[in-house]
């Protein structure tokens, strides 16, 4: 039985529940018949089993969240390198509450610093950036589910060259939670935003964040996501970035745990001449399936892309990477490189990686590479020859493998105890 056949009744039930919660009748709401539910016969879904998602009971779904255990503010806030005093905050710390609102860790409405202005509700139209970034108009599953989930969206306009730090945390601790936060960012020319997501789900739940951002001329967005989930939890992330010339978009995502994680970033350099850096780390252990499908489209000349995706698969973990880069005729002098590095640590683990470069322009510099290896015997022996036990040597090498991506994370992301604990940093002294 296919995913689609299995999932149809579940989707019908889900849509009915979501329609009721939105205060609409089922006839006013999209029907399961209108959906193009992914099947394993589709190239982009052939490795991705959605049963982890469809095991949730639509009738019991709720939106309750828990308070994240924020790291010490002294770690999060930057200090003056000379005086050691904390610098005036252009930081905003927000956590998702049970009604889909973003509140401060004290449960208060946020105080927005200069340069960060909430957009009027009527200007926050879900899909407005996504539709320009994906001309075909077919949104990924996570974005579709986000769109039909009634939840208040957060829309922000960012201005000014001084960086503003927006830290968002989602903590889920109760089973059957169904969270679909939507964030719309409009970066004015020259604006600079550092956005961090910290997502933790300790129960069987689904988290489906959707980010849309429009980067103005020479604007800069640095996005970092750390997402850890319980083995039965589902993460369906989607982001849509529309970059103007001279803008910079840097994205670093670290994902581990989860029964199913599907991360789908879409980036469009609308006139080229922009810079995009995508860094991803997926640590798939147990029976985790971590899937990243990225698409970068150059719709103008002189665009720049640096993409590096690293995955580590152990036990029966499965990592999937599909990196699509679209370079049409108009995108002359594009400079793009993509590297997929993978570490396969058990005979039952699995890595599927696929670079997908679609190049029509003839005057470009595009390269890609993919490697899959296990731990190197010479490296293990070198560490063992210094008295480090084999297990600890293996952990050191695994951490070393992850380090190249972890280094890209901001200090604030590394401060979360869950990240340190789950990646075993520091490595215990005991072998």
């Amino acid at each position: 039985m296919s995913n689609a056949t299995q999932s149809r009744p579940w989707l019908e039930a889900l849509l009915q529940v979501l329609a009721q919660r939105a205060g609409h009748s089922a006839t006013q709401w999209p029907s399961a018949r209108d959906w193009c539910w992914p099947t394993r016969r589709s190239e982009t879904w052939r490795f991705t089993d959605l049963r982890c998602l469809t095991q949730l009971d639509p009738v019991r779904l709720h939106t309750r969240t828990a308070s994240p255990r924020w790291p010490d503010a002294s770690i999060l806030l930057p200090s003056d390198p000379v005086s050691g005093k904390q610098l005036p905050a252009r930081h905003v710390f927000l956590q998702l509450d049970g009604r889909g609102h973003w509140l401060s860790p004290q449960g208060e409405l946020p105080t927005w610093p200069r340069g960060l202005v909430p957009l009027p509700t009527e200007e926050i139209i879900p899909g407005q950036v996504a539709q320009t970034v994906i001309p075909s108009g077919t949104l990924p599953l996570g974005a579709q589910l986000n769109g039909v989930t009634p939840s208040p969206a957060l829309g922000l306009q960012v201005s000014g060259p001084d960086p503003i730090h927006l830290e968002l945390a989602i903590q889920v601790e109760q089973a059957q939670a169904w969270l679909a936060p939507h964030l719309l960012l409009v970066l004015q020319p020259g604006a600079h935003l550092c956005l961090s997501w910290h997502v933790v789900a300790t129960a069987q739940a689904a988290v489906m964040p959707m980010v849309e951002a429009r980067l103005g001329l020479a604007a800069q967005l640095e996005e970092a996501t750390t997402a850890w989930g319980y083995p039965g939890a589902t993460f369906l992330g989607s982001s849509f970035m529309d970059q103007s010339p001279r803008s910079i978009y840097r994205r670093t995502t670290v994902t581990w745990g989860w029964g199913l994680s599907r991360d789908e970033p879409f980036v469009r350099q609308s006139q080229g001449q922009a810079e995009t850096c995508l860094h991803g780390l997926a640590v798939a252990r147990g029976q985790s399936l971590l899937d990243t499908h990225s698409t970068v489209t150059f719709d103008g000349p002189g665009g720049h892309l640096r993409q590096r995706h690293q995955a580590l698969a152990d036990d029966r973990g499965h990592s999937v990477f599909n990196g699509r880069v679209v370079v049409p005729q108009v995108a002359q002098q594009t400079d793009a490189s993509q590297l997929s590095r993978n570490l396969l640590l058990s005979t039952s683990a699995r890595i599927d990686t696929k670079p997908q470069l679609e190049i029509v322009a003839d005057n470009v510099q595009c390269n890609h590479g993919a490697t899959i290896s296990c731990l190197q015997d010479d490296e293990l022996f070198y560490l063992q020859s210094r008295g480090i036990g084999r297990d600890q040597a293996s952990r050191l090498l695994q951490r070393g493998f992850c380090e190249e991506i972890l280094q890209q994370l901001p200090k604030t992301a590394l401060a979360w105890p869950s990240l340190q604990r789950l990646l075993e940093i520091p490595v215990p002294d005991q072998p």
């Binding site: 020859s385 210094r386 008295g387």
Partner: protein, 274 residues
């Protein structure tokens, strides 16, 4: 061979002249090719030995077999370290108990900080010796002091293990590890290769400082120049997986002048063994 816990190994005091390492009729192969064909060698506390020989004679293989490289299989013979069967130990237990191999080609390990690597190694050895482990801050002070032995820039602590190090820096890092681990038997596999004159002097001085009456050193080298700086008590010449000849420092000088053909033409059977 696996190891799950550290067990203290022969922590009885060592006297100068005690036999630390005894290799008897050692045969070892890699992928069914027999490389070592009956090596016998005895090393006592306070001694410095030099091991010479043509490329492919089995010098590096001997060092790796002593250190426990899993690619090599011992088919006959024995290695005893302080009277105990060394071959029964995992590579990490050999290192913890005081056997050190300085690599000819130190391995680069991206992403693993040199400082962290050195601290974990040092603490594993200290634990075996019944010493308290060093915390991050204490160790950093300790390692910075120790780096002076090899005149190494502390900036190398922040980098990944051997990554982007020049040949000379890698060799200095090996001697730094040796200094931190305080081995009883140090085997240095072509530590002098790839070093310029100044680096060679620094490394040689470091090795000399670390050679004590209660420790032993086995230098694997092709060149007299290292042995000018570190004068060995014994020089062994290997060929075809065996030690063909053993002598004093003069043997190395004779080899430098006359080459290995001279060994082939003479009968080494009457060579006195240390």
């Amino acid at each position: 061979m696996t190891s799950t816990e550290i067990t203290p190994f022969c922590e009885t005091p060592i006297q100068p002249g005690d036999v630390l390492l005894a290799v008897e009729n050692l045969h070892a192969c890699v992928e069914e090719n027999e490389i070592l064909q009956g090596v016998s060698l005895q090393i006592r506390a306070g001694e410095i030995h030099a091991l010479m020989g043509r490329n492919g004679s089995g010098k590096s293989t001997l060092s790796k077999v002593i250190a426990g490289h899993p690619a090599y299989t011992v088919t006959a013979g024995s290695i005893h370290y302080r009277g105990q069967d060394l071959l029964a130990l995992s590579p990490e237990d050999r290192a913890r108990s005081g056997v050190f191999l300085g690599f000819q080609y130190p391995v680069e390990i991206p992403g693993v900080s040199n400082l962290e690597f050195l601290r974990v190694s040092c603490n594993a050895r200290r634990q075996n010796r019944g010493q308290e482990e060093l915390d991050t801050f204490t160790f950093e002070d300790h390692v910075r002091e120790t780096m002076a032995i090899v005149q190494m820039d502390p900036a190398f602590l922040e980098r990944s293990v051997n990554e982007g190090f020049s040949g000379g820096e890698k060799k200095r890092n090996e001697i730094l590890q040796m200094a931190l681990l305080e081995p009883l038997v140090a085997i240095l596999d072509e530590t002098d290769s790839g070093l310029d004159i100044d680096a060679l002097r620094i490394v040689a001085n470091g090795v000399k400082k670390l050679a004590l009456p209660t420790t032993a050193t086995l230098l694997i080298t092709h060149y007299q120049r290292l042995l000018d700086a570190i004068i060995p008590d014994f020089v062994h010449v290997m060929a075809e997986g065996r030690i063909l000849r053993t002598g004093g420092k003069d043997l190395a000088m004779a080899l430098e002048q006359r080459g290995y053909d001279w060994i082939d033409e003479t009968d080494g059977s009457d060579t006195p063994q240390p």
